[in-house]
């Protein structure tokens, strides 16, 4: 009855051999292809550097002005724009301008990457049920796997730095875009699709003129989620060398600098609220044709 009280394990020897086998195989893979992969990600790196330079090197009043204009275009709300300007001024006044700009740049590129990859996957998923059956559990794994775990292979492959950080952020933040795109397209009413087919739309026309426009508010909700999730990755990403507001927080944790931590934490909250309100207001504006219901 020994097996009843002690779990029958596979044996230390075998387990070690298995772990070693996988580790060595992956290391060999990294040595073989690491450089190639790094080169493949080079354009992304250049883009990251470019957007970071753009935000940090431009005069701050110009940056604030352009962010204010973008939030205005998205939300058409004076309240949100004024809130944005005040938040940015406060951040700058408390000496966190550069770090904030680095973080904003990172979030911007991460969201863009998530969109470029996520939209097509979401569309494909909505079209093919088999694809949905494969992608959904994959997304579940991506969202529940502790991020530290996939930081390991990412760092092994790409080394410490911006690109590895970006990849980690994108892996963590891409699921909402994919899920909501899929959901939004699947939620388009059957009768509207039938009508569009009755008028002889091609697959492309149906997608661009009916399905995507009607799914857009839902997709925007996904984008909003993606932005929020990538912001929450900022601190973790700073552990593998991503610059920005995460770095001071990390330093604060290590040295118990309470104020430093709270300031930078609040700055993250500040830009999170800006992004959230602006993108939500934009999503709402996309739905305005649904709101005014005939009484």
């Amino acid at each position: 009855m020994n097996w009843f009280y002690t779990f029958p394990e596979m044996g230390t020897e075998a387990l070690r051999a298995l772990k070693k086998g996988i580790d060595f195989a992956f290391r060999d893979f990294t040595r073989e292809y690491g450089e190639l992969l790094e080169r493949m990600f080079d354009p992304l790196k250049q883009f990251l550097i470019f957007s970071e330079r753009l935000l940090t090197d431009s005069p701050w009043p110009l940056v604030i002005l352009s962010i204010a204009v973008i939030t205005w275009l998205a939300s058409r709300s004076t309240k949100i724009v004024v809130g944005t300007i005040i938040t940015l001024l406060l951040i700058g006044y408390f000496g966190m301008w550069d770090d904030t700009m680095k973080t904003v740049s990172m979030i911007f590129v991460a969201t863009l990457t998530a969109l470029v990859l996520g939209l097509p996957i979401g569309i494909a998923m909505s079209r093919f049920d088999r694809m949905q059956k494969v992608v959904t559990p994959t997304l579940d794994v991506m969202q529940t796997m502790p991020s530290f775990v996939y930081l390991i292979p990412v760092v092994m492959l790409l080394g410490i730095g911006k690109v590895a950080g970006l990849l980690a952020v994108v892996i963590y933040a891409i699921p909402p875009v994919i899920r909501f795109t899929n959901l939004g397209i699947r939620l388009v009413p059957e009768d509207v699709l039938e009508a569009s087919e009755a008028f002889g739309t091609s697959v492309w026309q149906k997608m661009t003129k009916v399905q995507l426009p009607l799914a857009l508010p839902t997709i925007m909700a996904g984008v909003n989620q993606t932005i929020m999730m990538s912001l929450s990755m900022v601190v973790i990403a700073s552990m593998i060398g991503v610059q920005g507001l995460g770095q001071p927080v990390l330093k604060a944790i290590a040295n118990q600098y309470f104020t430093l931590g709270i300031f930078n934490g609040l700055a993250i909250v500040g830009i999170a609220i800006i992004f959230d309100r602006a993108s939500q207001a934009y999503g709402k504006r996309l739905q305005r044709h649904l709101e005014v219901v005939h009484g």
């Binding site: 509207v192 569009s196 009755a198 002889g200 739309t201 026309q205 044709h289």
Partner: protein, 359 residues
């Protein structure tokens, strides 16, 4: 089954596109082909459903829809009428049968031909409107032309004129959600008409509207049809609507055509007790025409009525003039016979035996 008008591939005049439904079967389920022979051999709808898990949608439908006329397909829910109309532009694929629209078999078209066919030959109006919620009234109306790839200037002009024709001037830039049901269906109608297709498919188009607006929309449709002369297939569950609109009416029950003919034929000679129970409450005065009731004979002292006039109108004329009989004349004014008030009243009351024969 000879169609005098169709079978002309290069039809120039739009109204010359007739529709022929020949031996159409539709069985819903995973392997419909397997049961086709059984159904043709007489397997009942219930047996197919209970023992084989397939649903019989349509069974041996043969309807000849005249070009330029309004063909009404009437039936209660579950009779297969919406399934039938969706076969005409092949939103549903048949299990067997032929469907000739303007001489072309829709069933044999490949994807590309089908798209072209839908764009050029048909337009559809839906029960629940199915407007595009993110488009304005005008953009909805021009949707068909947009799909065809017409320039925005040309299609806007056409859409504007049709939106005007259906009485929505001033609402061009509203979104569908801002409109009432009746107005939304006007948009649906404008969208279909802007497409300028010879065949107009209307799937319970007015069923979701309240009675007053429904009558109103029927008039709009009849007025437009006067000048357009499209081939209209109109689905309804409402007999009054069927009789009012239909040049020809086909009655569907459990996926089978139980009777087809003119409104008058159906009211006066119901094929079975099912139909006679339907037509019992119909206002016969608005269906039966003078031509049917008139008797040959010399002219009488009374007003002249057109032979195609419904007897209710004839009765109105007679009572207004205080006469007992009228002369029935052809469209050219030639005397065809006479009609008396007694005959009219007799015809307007449903015959007793009809009512009894219903179980």
């Amino acid at each position: 089954m000879v169609d005098p008008v169709t079978n002309n591939d290069n039809a120039e005049v739009t109204s010359s596109v007739g529709i022929e439904v020949k031996g159409l079967y539709k069985i819903f389920g995973p392997t419909p082909e397997k049961y086709l022979e059984d159904v043709k051999g007489g397997m009942s709808k219930d047996e197919l459903r209970d023992n084989h898990g397939h649903v019989l949608g349509l069974k041996d439908i043969n309807i000849n829809m005249k070009a330029g006329g309004i063909q009404v397909v009437m039936g209660l829910s579950g009779s297969g009428k919406s399934t039938l109309i969706r076969h005409i532009n092949r939103l549903i694929d048949p299990t067997a049968g032929e469907l000739l629209v303007g001489g072309q078999d829709v069933v044999k078209m490949d994807d590309k031909q089908l798209r072209a066919f839908r764009r050029e030959q048909t337009a559809m109006v839906f029960q629940k409107f199915a407007l595009l919620p993110h488009y304005t009234v005008l953009e909805n109306a021009e949707f068909g032309l947009q799909v065809k790839g017409e320039s925005s200037k040309a299609r806007r002009k056409k859409a504007r004129s049709w939106v005007e024709r259906v009485g929505l001037t001033g609402y061009e830039n509203n979104y569908p959600n801002q409109l009432s049901g009746g107005m939304q269906q006007r948009v649906g109608l404008a969208r279909a008409l802007t497409n300028d297709a010879p065949v107009l498919l209307m799937d319970e188009a007015f069923s979701a509207l309240d009675p007053l607006i429904r009558t109103d929309m029927q008039s709009v449709l009849l007025d437009l049809q006067q000048e357009l002369g499209k081939t209209i297939v109109f689905i309804t569950h409402d007999l009054d609507e069927a009789l009012r609109l239909g040049d020809q009416v086909a009655i569907l029950r459990d996926g089978e055509v139980v009777q087809q003919g003119t409104a008058q034929q159906i009211v006066l000679k119901p094929a079975d007790s099912y139909i006679s129970s339907f037509v019992r409450d119909v206002n016969r005065g608005r269906v039966i025409r003078c031509k049917t009731l008139m008797q040959a004979g010399p002219a009488v002292d009374g007003p002249q009525v057109d032979s195609s006039l419904v007897i209710e109108e004839a009765a109105r004329i007679l009572s207004a003039e205080g006469k007992e009989a009228a002369n029935v004349v052809s469209a050219k004014g030639r005397l065809l016979g006479t009609i008396t008030m007694t005959d009219i009243i007799g015809a307007m009351v449903p015959p007793q035996e009809d009512a009894i024969s219903v179980t």
